[in-house]
Amino acid sequence: MDEMLVRQLQIHACHVRMGIIEGVYHAKSGHPGGSLSIADLLTYLYFTRMHVYPDNPDFAERDRFVLSKGHTAPALYATLAEKGFFPMEEMKTLRHIGARLQGHPCITIPGVDMSSGSLGQGISAACGMALAGKHRADNYRVYTVLGDGEIEEGQVWEAAMFAAHYGLDNLTAIVDNNGLQIDGKITDVCSPEPIPDKFAAFGWHVIECDAHDFDDLDRAFREAERVTMQPVAIIQHSTKGKGVSFMENQVGWHGTAPNQEQYEKAMAELTEQLRRLEEQA
């Protein structure tokens, strides 16, 4: 990818990360770890690949996105805000009583295509959206993001079977392979490994990539768009908590909000990252 574009994406991703931290800090609850691990992915999707329109969020031919790992809603909301669906300032109302930014994605929020939060269900809804697209010969694509713990749900594999059987090549499922769930490492809790082999065995075209390298994401998604007759699984190798040093790879940051001191430290780190990126831009 063009170096300037990569820099621009890195700046957007940094804003998204700041939005995530603002959100969970002001909510005093929520899931920073798995939100930070998909900040680059969502930035890449919404700023380079997806045809979506902040002024017309319900446009019929738009590409669709389903956050199957719904607990990482802060990442989706911050990305939608960065894209212009609503002000980033609204992140501070996350999870507040009466606010529209619910703890888990809610279909009534501008830009949110599907309610989610009960793990394993989003990918099925994504299959339905892709099937509708095929049925009507529409050209939109459907993206869905799953957690690597989430794929322990049996429903994920029912959906995997369905998508392959109906040749849903307009569907791309991304597995955020950060190696952690709530009770520990995915390999210690109830291992879903080997993930790529499983999707391949279910008839999917499988691509692996580095979740925090925009060039590699670009390679993966361009390959995905060339695949026909098969759904595509992108296994992105990520770091839970990516971008905030003390949250990285720490299972304890799955579903804990930072206190004031931790919030300030996280924001200082991200502000410094942003300053450097803007210098280079």
């Binding site: 719904g70 619910q102 888990h104 769930q181």
Partner: protein, 314 residues
């Protein structure tokens, strides 16, 4: 008031499992990647060799629990109420209920008081779902003391038991030194003759507070704690209907299918009197701090008292 001890019943669940492990060597614990939240993590820490994490796969966990029970173990299968009763409902019905297996379901984070996670996690349908399964015992304890006793009662009962626990810390209202848990028996906490407030779970304490306030106004409200939703203590309900003439029910659950429905069904068949149901009014929850949400949804002493006044035309 500052010396009121508060504790979430999910904590009681974790502590009870640990406390009872030696006494019941066949007790075994399953969780679905929520050990830190359901508090089975305490048991995992103390008895690692008797704890099995099933991963995020609640349906399979219930099936595995059925098999463990069929093979002579006493499994406690744990997750949030939404996933234990909701996601896995049909497995619970067909693999646990129908063969009447000795599985105990420890369902935490029930009701609106889940708080910030919002509607997808606020399960207000579990009592209704579990109550419809033939042979299923359904327990919804009011506080720490009752929750711990309920865990042992569940072990001693031969058959499937659904135990509902909460995330929010609630006042301990029962004295552990004198408390006796009798499965299927309601408890009259306050005598009264003008109206009966029949409550369950965290609404029991609210009902007591409401009764105190009402007493100041000269209203004599009976307060009954129903910790066992099924089998329901129909006798205590019929007696309340006959002696008080009016019933208000209070539960952190949908007004459809839970305690309110069970009480209404019972009085219709024994001693028909007006029944007003306080609960979640056929609506989904939303995000917010638990205590504020309880107020907003009318699951509070103030609202119970208001409804009682309305019912009595005061």
């Amino acid at each position: 008031m500052s010396d009121v001890i508060k504790k979430a019943t999910r904590e009681s669940y974790g502590e009870a499992l640990v406390a009872l492990a030696e006494k019941y060597p066949n007790l075994i614990v399953l969780d679905a990647d929520l050990a830190a939240a359901t508090k089975t993590g305490m048991f995992k820490k103390a008895y690692a060799d008797r704890f099995y994490d099933c991963g995020i796969a609640e349906a399979n966990m219930m099936g595995v629990a059925a098999g463990l029970a069929a093979a002579g173990m006493i499994p406690f299968a744990s997750s949030f109420a939404m996933f234990a009763a909701g996601r896995a409902f049909e497995i619970v019905r067909n693999s646990i209920g129908y063969p009447h297996l000795n599985v105990k379901i420890g369902a935490t984070h029930a009701g609106i008081s889940v708080g910030e996670d919002g509607a997808t996690h606020q399960c207000c349908e579990d009592l209704a779902l579990m109550r419809t399964i033939p042979g299923m015992t359904v327990i919804n304890p009011a506080d720490d003391t009752e929750a711990k006793a309920a865990v042992e009662a569940a072990i001693l009962h031969d058959g499937p038991v659904y135990c509902r626990f909460g995330r929010l810390a609630v006042p301990v209202i029962n004295d552990p030194a004198t408390y006796k848990f009798e499965l299927g028996k309601g408890v009259t906490l306050r005598e009264g003759k003008d109206i009966a407030i029949i409550a369950t779970g965290l609404l029991v304490n609210e009902a007591l507070t409401a009764a105190d306030a009402l007493a100041q106004e000269g209203i004599s409200a009976r307060v009954i704690n129903i910790h066992t939703i099924k089998p329901l203590d129909t006798e205590i309900v019929a007696k309340a209907a006959a002696e008080c003439g009016r019933i208000v029910t209070a539960e952190e659950h949908s007004i459809i299918g839970g305690l309110g429905s069970a009480v209404a069904e019972a009085v219709c068949e024994s001693c028909p009197v007006p029944v007003r149901r306080i609960g979640v009014n056929d609506t989904f929850g939303h995000s917010g701090p638990a205590v504020e949400l309880l107020k907003q949804f009318g699951l509070s002493a103030e609202h119970i008292a208001e409804v009682v006044r309305e019912e009595l035309g005061k």
